[in-house]
Symmetry: C2
Subunit: 242 residues, 2 copies
């Protein structure tokens, strides 16, 4: 079973205070870039893998999705998602993405935000999603960018020229990374962009878009704390077609 860090009190409380947890989709600077890769949701069947508090699930229903299934390992998050969702087209399910089963050809869009870097077996998940999608359906997801995740001790440093830099090591050494983020000992699984894309293609997906997210000039003007994000990407966004 995957590590369920979200149901530890320390992590859950820290996570609940993040802008993206308090302000929903608009609290995440990468959201406009993700949205640009999404198909029209009108009448579509949608599954959100690692749905958290259900922000995306409710948004998808508002966009006219026929049915939205939110799936998360965290009982705390699913409980709050259910409490905050009044739309009958949205349902939630507690499940581990490492061992997930989904019905065949049951969805037109699989979505996931910042969940898959917690998975050890990404290939199994991708094959499960491919079977669960109808032909022509989309799979749009974000993960921590491997540049962000690779280092043994990720963090900013200062180069000789005084510029902020992000020292990388172990980029080509895939596997476990243990870091302290909101709580101690958070386990993630580093994979290169190549591995992520090749795993999708091996399962039968066609790659449709790859975005190494950086905030726009306008976003930085509105939120100067985002400025360092142009030095190294934090988030990778992928769109694939079944």
């Amino acid at each position: 079973m995957a590590q369920n860090i979200y149901d530890t009190a320390e992590f859950f409380e820290g996570y609940s205070r993040l802008p993206r947890s308090r302000h929903g989709l608009d609290g995440a600077p990468e959201w406009p870039a993700i949205r640009a890769l999404l198909p029209s949701l009108s009448g579509k069947r949608v599954v959100d893998l690692g749905c958290g508090f259900g922000w995306f699930a409710r948004w998808a229903a508002d966009q006219g999705a026929a049915r939205v299934t939110g799936i998360d390992l965290s009982e705390n998050m699913i409980e709050r998602a259910r409490r905050e969702t009044a739309d009958g087209r949205v349902e939630y399910r507690i499940a581990d993405l490492e061992t997930l089963d989904l019905p065949a050809a049951a969805y037109d869009l699989a979505y996931s935000s910042l969940a898959f870097h917690y998975l050890e077996d990404f290939g199994r998940l991708v094959r499960t999603v491919h079977r669960a999608l109808d032909s022509g359906a989309r799979f749009v997801f974000t993960i921590e960018h491997p540049i962000y995740m690779a280092p043994a001790r990720p963090g900013w440093s200062t180069a000789d020229n005084g510029r902020m830099c992000w020292p990388i090591d172990g980029y080509s050494v895939e596997g476990r990374r243990v870091t302290d983020w909101l709580a101690k000992g958070v386990v993630k699984h580093h994979r290169t962009i190549g591995t992520t894309l090749n795993t999708l293609m091996a399962a039968g997906f066609a790659i449709r878009g790859v975005v190494e997210f950086a905030p726009t000039v306008d976003q930085i003007a509105a939120e100067p704390r985002l400025a360092p994000e142009v030095e190294r990407p934090m988030i990778l966004i992928v769109s694939a077609e079944c």
Copy 2:
């Protein structure tokens, strides 16, 4: 016109001394990974963009290619390539990849090794190659990996834990990078992996393989100087289908 650094005496002499210039394809550690992405060349029409001394062109002819066209901006390199090539199926042409014209549907494989990061207008080249390839043809190329190319002053550093690291800055700031490599003031053009892949897809290519090259354990055992290459990738290999 693209900067023709290869025809300056300093660069040409330095380049001529590199293992990959002296030993050909087998002098490049990424060659086995490239070769794994190549289709059978028997009876195929091949174009090599940035062919240098013609190592690949001669190899392709040895593999049974019907016709091989090697293209390079450097008169010095084309002159040596012609001198060292006895095979009548191989021809060489001096041309700038920034303004290249190619006949339509004339090739079954377009290949390029470590040339495109010198191009300012990658999109134009990609559209030119797409038109020049037959349906189902392959486009296999390598470039310097954007992690390698992004920093204002690329180079190794030592992290607090004593491990070698590669500080990154400006990853999301695409465009000119001026570095000193074999000669002073070599101009390259940094693009993210996302931009490279999206440019290919926008021109009509389907992505077939993405490899962020790192030497294998066996390669490092045979050549210990390659060990640091696992800390950050130096070369990106892409396979696309027309």
